[in-house]
């Protein structure tokens, strides 16, 4: 795979420009209106999006694009930034969702500020909100483009602090406790990863991509570490990132954090942040330990299907819309993990694509929850809803599109990722005997069946049936509460139609690096 070195540090700029906007927002504080903040920060994030699209357009996605700067950190390897077909869907997912949600934040947070004032709480104002918001978003962009484990860890830490504060300041319910809980959990995940990364780094190296030669350092952990240590390092790094993903067993922080975060932040946490764990498991951990990872695959595959099913079962039990979506995210992380555990190019491609699909779908759904909260006086309880499609047809249609994404119904790109994931998983069991084959098929039947069931049951409970009296006044939101969702839906449709543009180079790079 050819490496192209940019003349200017454009990739870094996609992180720094949003950070600059964040700082400017902080400095401006209450001196400008919230719309200016939204324009500034949303604009900065959409700048990053445009850059990614332009780079893909200019160089094609069949090359690895690298920033000119390589920062040699004594003892910690080299920090640089790269952009390729593997991270393109992830970066688009982050930049698009965060950019659009910045706009959505204005009406939503206006409502939230009023609500908090009612409760007698004085929360930090718009400047602080947008500063933290955009820092969070920019740090996520940074994580994905890194070439070095410590560099990745630093960006990961940078995501944590603003998101922690956003929950603590603007969240719902027992927000401070939940923010701390979130902090402890994800910190634990990050530190586990760091322990592994340091042990790997001091023994072998920190770079998982060599900026000089333009190659992924496939197998550098497998080769450089002795058996026992390799296993320990692999386990620490894997479990650390699985905690970030919130797969079954270490998922329990997610329903709290994602349900009680202010809704725009839920829409960032849920698809964007947690999915990074899956993608970077491939890019860092699998790259370092292809054979060690492969030997764990049966466990991971089983764990993945268990997570898909478990999340589905839990989603069915929820009466709070946001909590339901949070458990749905747990299940969706099972989907991503399934692709990873299949150790096949198809599964890997499915996982990466599913990151984007889940970003579209879950962002739309959380924002739908936000519309209901804003328009219907904080309404989140599903049993108190019903028949809303009659009053809110646009919202209902958008929610349907959201669910179509996560259940893989065309014309949404979930269809593609679902096929790739199934394709990868089936490949794994194909030559392993009838028992494994039937067990996997049965597991998928139950898992995908449950996803369909909770998705469309939720549509029914919220939007169909007779309209209760207290919702007679409901109406569609319109404006910047709705347009971001429409844009996400449109992006989903375009991705479905033009999937080859993203998928073909993705399959090519995956085959070349890992095939």
């Amino acid at each position: 795979m050819e490496q192209i070195i940019l003349e200017q540090p454009i990739l870094l700029s996609t992180v720094l420009v949003p950070i600059a906007a964040a700082m400017a927002s902080w400095a401006l504080g209450d001196r400008v209106k919230e719309d200016v903040h939204a324009g500034l920060n949303g604009g900065a994030l959409l700048y990053s999006l445009v850059i990614y699209l332009a780079l893909a357009w200019r160089f094609g996605l069949d090359k690895i694009v690298r920033d000119p700067w390589v920062w040699d950190v004594p003892g910690l390897g080299r920090f640089s930034m790269i952009f390729d077909a593997m991270v393109f869907p992830v970066l688009v997912g982050i930049a698009l969702v965060t950019g659009l949600v910045a706009i959505y934040s204005v009406p939503y947070m206006r409502h939230r500020f009023e609500e908090m004032e009612h409760e007698g709480v004085k929360a930090p104002g718009w400047g602080a909100y947008f500063m933290m918001y955009t820092m969070f978003a920019a740090a996520m962009l940074g994580t994905v483009m890194t070439t070095n484990t410590v560099e990745f860890y630093l960006f990961l830490e940078l995501t944590l602090i603003p998101s922690f504060l956003l929950i603590a300041f603007y969240g719902y319910g027992d927000r401070v406790r939940i923010a701390i809980l979130y902090m402890l959990w994800t910190q634990m995940g990050a530190v586990l990863f760091l322990i592994g990364a340091l042990a790997l780094g001091f023994n072998v190296g920190f770079d998982f991509y060599d900026p000089a030669t333009g190659r992924f350092m496939l197998g550098f952990g497998d080769e450089g570490l002795a058996g026992g240590l390799a296993t320990a390092v692999l386990a620490a790094m894997t479990i650390g990132l699985l905690v970030k993903m919130a797969v079954f067993g270490v998922h329990i922080w997610l329903p709290y954090a994602h349900a009680e975060a202010p809704t725009p932040i839920s829409a960032l946490l849920s698809p964007n942040l947690i999915g990074i764990g899956g993608v970077m498991l491939l890019r860092i951990v699998y790259t370092a330990f292809p054979s060690g990872f492969s030997s764990m695959a049966p466990i991971l595959l089983f764990w993945a299907v268990a997570t898909m099913i478990y999340g589905g079962f839990m989603a069915l039990q929820q009466t709070d819309f946001k909590r339901l979506l949070a458990y749905s995210s747990v299940s969706q992380m099972g989907y991503m993990m399934l692709g990873l555990a299949s150790i096949s190019v198809y599964g890997f491609a499915g996982m990466i694509l599913h990151y984007l699909v889940h970003a579209y779908g879950k962002a739309i759904l959380f924002l739908t929850a936000g519309i209901l909260i804003t328009m219907l006086h904080g309404l989140r309880s599903i049993p108190r809803m019903g028949g809303l499609a009659a009053k809110m047809p646009v919202t209902a249609a958008l929610a349907l599109i959201g669910f179509m994404n996560i259940t893989g119904i065309p014309p949404m790109p979930g269809l593609w990722s679902e096929y790739l994931l199934v394709r990868g998983a089936v490949e794994y069991v194909f030559s392993r005997g009838v028992l494994e084959f039937v067990a996997l098929g049965g597991g998928l039947l139950l898992a995908i069946g449950l996803s369909t069931a909770y998705s469309f049951l939720t549509m029914k409970r919220i939007f169909y049936g007779s309209l209760p009296d207290h919702l007679k006044e409901a109406r569609d939101a319109g404006g910047s509460l709705t347009l971001p969702l429409v844009a996400l839906a449109a992006a989903g449709l375009l991705t479905f139609l033009f999937i080859y543009w993203m998928l073909d180079p993705l399959m090519a790079i995956l085959s070349q690096v890992y095939g």
Partner: protein
């Protein structure tokens, strides 16, 4: 290779474009959206006719493929062998006629945009599926029909009582037996999606082996991949997964339940689902893969008998499932009180016939016979069932009730509808010379030839039941004594836009039947020579004795109903309620063999209970408590324990004992300060000795 022009993609593209246009026109009122929809379907129908003409005239299948996703080998275009071209043609024209009917039938519905969007999307998806040259594209069309059916079945999502299906208040085993539109839509989607996952697994398996999912590649050397699967021990499992989507889509047991309640949609939608789209997709899929699988079986018959037997076993199972579904659903139709529901049971039953025919044909060793029988019955059923549903829609609309108890004597009020429905019904009943007679006969013929005794007997008895429930329906609606309801609200004949489509279809089912003996040979020949996986011409050898026997069954069925409902003008329910055993049997049939109730009791309630138990006892009680209560408690406990013990010890160690120690040491040192010179000299010498010893020791001497 025949040149294949791109323009024929309009068969599926035109309806999809129509859908987009309808969406863009969402603010336009009146009939505009309906007209756009109808126009797009007309375009599709015209192109499907041209395509059919070209495909039948061409030596090779007409194949146009544009790359869509090269890395997955997915192309778009069309693959028109005889099977696909005929199917596309039937789907397009029927959908067009149903759409014309909808112009009037749905003319005053407030949900015009939704209706026409999903209607055209439905047809586009179906045509995309039919004309796909690879399985992934087929799956996309397949899922598209699933989405559209979900939306259309739940079209009246506000769930008013007049849109329900079933008897409000009735319960079986404690489970409600009435269904709102939103509930029915959900059921349709969940039931069919379950099967779809199996389908997807099957596609993945083929993709792994062949490196592509193209139908031609699949048909090129089926023995090769079948043997490979058998060598891995997963051939039977693969077949079970692969066919699951078709079973669910075509409402075969055990997936049949969704179709029954799908009646909550507008009746035009029922016509669309039952005649042209959706449920026929499953049959079509079976027709597509049967020649390929049968080819694998016959190629391996000698070399690998176990593979041969696995595939034969698969077909035997499909035949049994088809026959059983045909029989079971017919028994339910006998007792139903809702006009649309009778037709719905009938559809599932007739689809069972198609499954039976196709699989049995393959069992005879001549897959072409199965494809011919299955497709013939598919086409004739499509024609008469569309007519029946559309007529039923007109009747329900005129009477304002879906129950046949509220009808009776309608022949006087709706004579044209009566004649149309009578013709279509006789075709359904299988009376000569209607199309339904001929095609049902090929079904039974195939089953008989295959020596599939059980399946054949089920199918044979079903012929009698079908005639009986059809005659009962016609009589109860049109000639039976008028109900009070009809007397109070005299119904009116349907408008022309509604009447013409179903009258036309009824006439076709008669005319088609009259011409059938002439057309049959040619049809069988074209189909068997120009369908993927077939190739040798099929020669039909009808069995006169079988034909006579099946006519006997039909006449008996018609006769019984005629006697009961026309000559006696009896009220069988009065008799049935007096005799406990009959009443129990009636309840059994009326409550759909309790299968729905059992599903809810066991599967739905079971999963609900499981989900609740996992949430309460694992997620909350174990996981949440473990991490968020026990661990904090344990950590706090450990901290407090350490605080009280180790920390206290260290604290006292440093701050009390050590201090005291230092103090007492200095005290002792101070007491050494005696002021006596001898003592000092002694200490000096002692100290020097100790140092000397230490130094010698450290220096290693």
């Amino acid at each position: 290779m025949e040149e294949a022009p791109m323009s024929y993609i309009m068969v599926w593209l035109a309806p999809w474009l129509g859908a987009v246009l309808v969406l863009l026109m969402h603010r336009v009122g009146g009939r505009a959206k309906g007209l756009v929809g109808v126009a797009s379907l007309l375009v599709s129908a015209i192109f499907s006719t041209l395509l059919l003409q070209r495909a039948l005239a061409s030596e090779e299948p007409l194949h146009f493929a544009a790359e869509w996703v090269p890395s997955l080998g997915v192309t778009v275009g069309y693959y028109a062998d005889a099977l696909a071209a005929i199917m596309a043609f039937v789907v397009a024209w029927l959908s067009f006629l149903i759409a014309v009917y909808s112009l009037e039938y749905m003319g005053h519905d407030p949900g015009q945009t939704r209706y026409w969007f999903f209607f055209t999307f439905f047809v586009g998806s179906m045509e995309f599926l039919v004309l796909a040259d690879n399985l992934v594209a087929m799956f996309i069309g397949w899922e598209g029909t699933g989405l559209a059916s979900y939306a259309l079945i739940g079209h009246w999502f506000t769930d008013e009582e007049d849109k329900w299906v079933g008897d409000p208040g009735r319960k079986a085993l404690g489970i409600p037996m009435w269904f709102e539109p939103s509930h029915s839509g959900l059921r349709a989607l969940v039931f069919t999606r379950l099967g779809d996952v199996g389908f997807l697994v099957g596609i993945a398996v083929l993709h792994i082996m062949l490196g592509t999912t193209s139908l031609e590649a699949m048909a090129a050397n089926p023995a090769g991949w079948a043997a490979l699967l058998a060598s891995k021990g997963i051939l039977a499992a693969f077949l079970a997964f692969f066919i699951m989507g078709a079973l669910a889509k075509s409402a075969q047991f055990p997936f049949h339940e969704w179709l029954v309640t799908a009646m909550t949609g507008p009746t035009s939608v029922s016509a669309l689902i039952h005649a042209a789209t959706m449920v026929k997709a499953g049959v079509y899929f079976l027709l597509r893969v049967t020649p390929i699988l049968a080819g694998a079986a016959s190629a391996l018959r000698v070399t690998s008998p176990e593979v041969y037997h696995t595939i034969e076993g698969f077909f035997a199972w499909i035949a049994i499932i088809g026959g059983f579904t045909a029989f079971m659903m017919a028994t339910m139709a006998l007792v139903s009180r809702e006009l649309k529901l009778i037709l719905a049971f009938s559809t599932a039953s007739q689809l069972g016939y198609m499954f039976l025919a196709t699989a049995a044909g393959a069992l005879t060793g001549t897959a072409a016979l199965g494809v011919f029988a299955g497709l013939s019955h598919l086409v004739s059923h499509a024609v008469f069932k569309a007519s029946l549903f559309l007529a039923a829609g007109a009747i329900i609309h005129a009477v304002h009730s879906r129950f046949i108890d509220d009808m009776g004597g309608l022949a006087a009020y709706m004579p044209a509808t009566f004649i149309a429905m009578l013709l279509a019904s006789l075709s359904l009943a299988g009376l000569p010379p209607f199309m339904g007679f001929w095609t049902k006969d090929t079904v039974l013929h195939a089953a008989h030839e295959a020596h599939a005794q059980v399946a054949f007997m089920l199918g044979f008895i079903t012929a009698l039941l079908t005639a009986a429930y059809t005659m009962r329906m016609v009589l109860r609606v049109f000639l039976y004594e008028p109900s009070n309801h009809v007397a109070k609200h005299p119904p009116h004949e349907a408008g022309k836009l509604m009447l013409v489509p179903y009258a036309l279809l009824a006439v076709i089912s008669l005319a088609g039947g009259a011409l059938w003996p002439k057309l049959e040979e040619g049809f069988a020949e074209v189909l068997s020579e120009k369908t993927l996986g077939l190739g040798t011409p099929l020669h039909l050898e009808p069995s006169v004795s079988l034909m006579a026997a099946s006519v006997g069954m039909v006449v008996a069925g018609l006769g019984v109903s005629f006697y009961v409902y026309h000559i006696l003008v009896a009220k069988p329910m009065e008799t049935i309620s007096r005799i406990p055993i009959l009443y129990k049997l009636h309840t059994f049939l009326y409550d759909r063999w309790f299968i729905n109730a059992i599903y809810y009791r066991v599967v739905v309630d079971g999963l609900k209970a499981l989900s609740r138990a996992i949430y309460n006892y694992i997620d909350q009680a174990v996981v949440d408590n473990l991490y968020h209560r026990f661990l904090p408690w344990a950590i706090m406990g450990a901290s407090s324990l350490l605080w009280k013990t180790l920390e206290h010890w260290i604290d006292t160690g440093f701050h009390v004992s050590l201090v005291n120690g230092v103090l007492s040491f200095s005290d002792r040192v101070r007491r050494m300060q005696t002021g006596i010179l001898n003592h000092y000299i002694l200490f000096l010498w002692l100290g020097l000795t100790v140092m000397l010893v230490l130094i010698t020791w450290l220096a290693g001497w």
